[in-house]
Symmetry: C2
Subunit: 235 residues, 2 copies
């Protein structure tokens, strides 16, 4: 089967670095779903506003796969096992027992909250997608067949509540627009709390830089705290 | 993107007629997931038993699409709208607001319960798949990102609790093995209660025949009741 791109994701995740590893229900980060010309008719989404949640089927782009490859240099896309960062990077599990991007068919699956339809685009929250990600299908979420709140999460359970504290107290800002700054800070707080460092890095003095929504944030990670150093418009 | 088949579904749904329209958590119908040679290594599913539920991404086969086409003759696969049977067949909704098989990329998405791993195969329940359906990906179900029990189900809410009563009292059996008969009856009860008739058919005297697990069941539908006429090994 050959897949056609029906839409692209548009958001502030311009960088391979910083995308959440899994979508989160409570995410406030907004993504626009922009249909390709063949599917941009209002007909294709008629009735979709009656649903609160949607499924996106999308492609792990080369960029995203590269982001993971950097931290997992031995990871081959034709391997049947992967080494999840959250298991410390030494334990191999089967590719079909993970949501790793290194899959025989690199299709991602993400549930999102539908906020609204605007100018023929879907405005959603909770998408763990890089800006420009190709989307292959959109389906309504059906709670009676898709929701299993008591499912056993295997090793992924360990990452369920993993969060870092974000400390802005020593941040130097170049941004003067305070409304814009607050929105940026809210999104970045969510992104940084999920520990965007490449896996297995523990140098507490190393400064990392992450691009988001036209800005660059610099930070280091000390213990369970992300210390933000600066937030500047991207050069 | 071109997809590789990683496995095939094996179950009693030999016929396009009778497949449930949506998977159900409580389904007792068992499907075996049989990997293709490239992916049949135990490595590929190492650790999968730690999860209670899985996602299957699979292909709507020509057979399955035909099953729907019979009841929806005007349905074209390149149309941006579909007419869901549960809306009476006259209301058009956008293809991305339905789980219809008539999609730009005919990929199905089904969550199943993992019962056990047996001889390198996954034994699952709840799959709404035709026997022989190609599977493109298997992912662990993660309750913290995939489960939204309070999601609004749009028009699909109307079909949530739709069930017919199944009346076996006038059934003529050719099957002599009573254990086998009980297992068959349990599966068929579930299948028939979901009203496998083609959409928009209301003739209460018409006899329908459905093949399942090497048997043929004959039935008619009178009001909210499926009256089973006979259950015989398939010719």
């Amino acid at each position: 089967m050959e897949l056609k791109v029906i839409a692209y994701a548009r958001n502030g995740f311009s960088d391979k670095f910083g995308i959440p590893r899994q979508s989160r229900e409570e995410s406030s980060i907004v993504t626009r779903i922009v249909f390709t010309p063949d599917y941009s008719s209002p007909d294709a989404i008629r009735g979709i506003s009656d649903y609160s949640h949607l499924w996106l089927l999308w492609g792990f782009s080369a960029n995203r796969r590269f982001r993971h490859a950097e931290s997992e240099p031995e990871q081959m896309s034709d391997s049947l096992t992967v080494r999840p960062p959250r298991l410390g990077g030494n334990t191999r599990v089967g590719v079909f027992a993970t949501r790793s991007p290194f899959r025989p068919n690199p299709i991602g699956l993400t549930s999102v909250r539908l906020l609204r339809v605007e100018s023929g685009e879907l405005i959603v929250s909770g998408a763990d997608l890089l800006d420009g990600t190709p989307i292959y299908d959109i389906k309504p979420y059906l709670s009676f067949s898709d929701s299993h709140p008591d499912a056993c999460n295997g090793f992924a359970e360990k990452s369920r509540d993993y969060r870092l504290h974000v400390d802005w107290s020593s941040c130097v800002y170049a941004e003067s627009d305070s409304v814009r700054k607050e929105a940026l800070r809210r999104d970045l707080e969510e992104i940084l709390s999920q520990d965007p460092r490449p896996a297995y890095q523990t140098d507490s003095e190393r400064i990392y830089r992450l691009d988001y929504a036209g800005h660059t944030v610099a930070f280091k990670v000390q213990g369970d705290t992300v210390v933000v150093e600066s937030l500047n418009p991207k050069d």
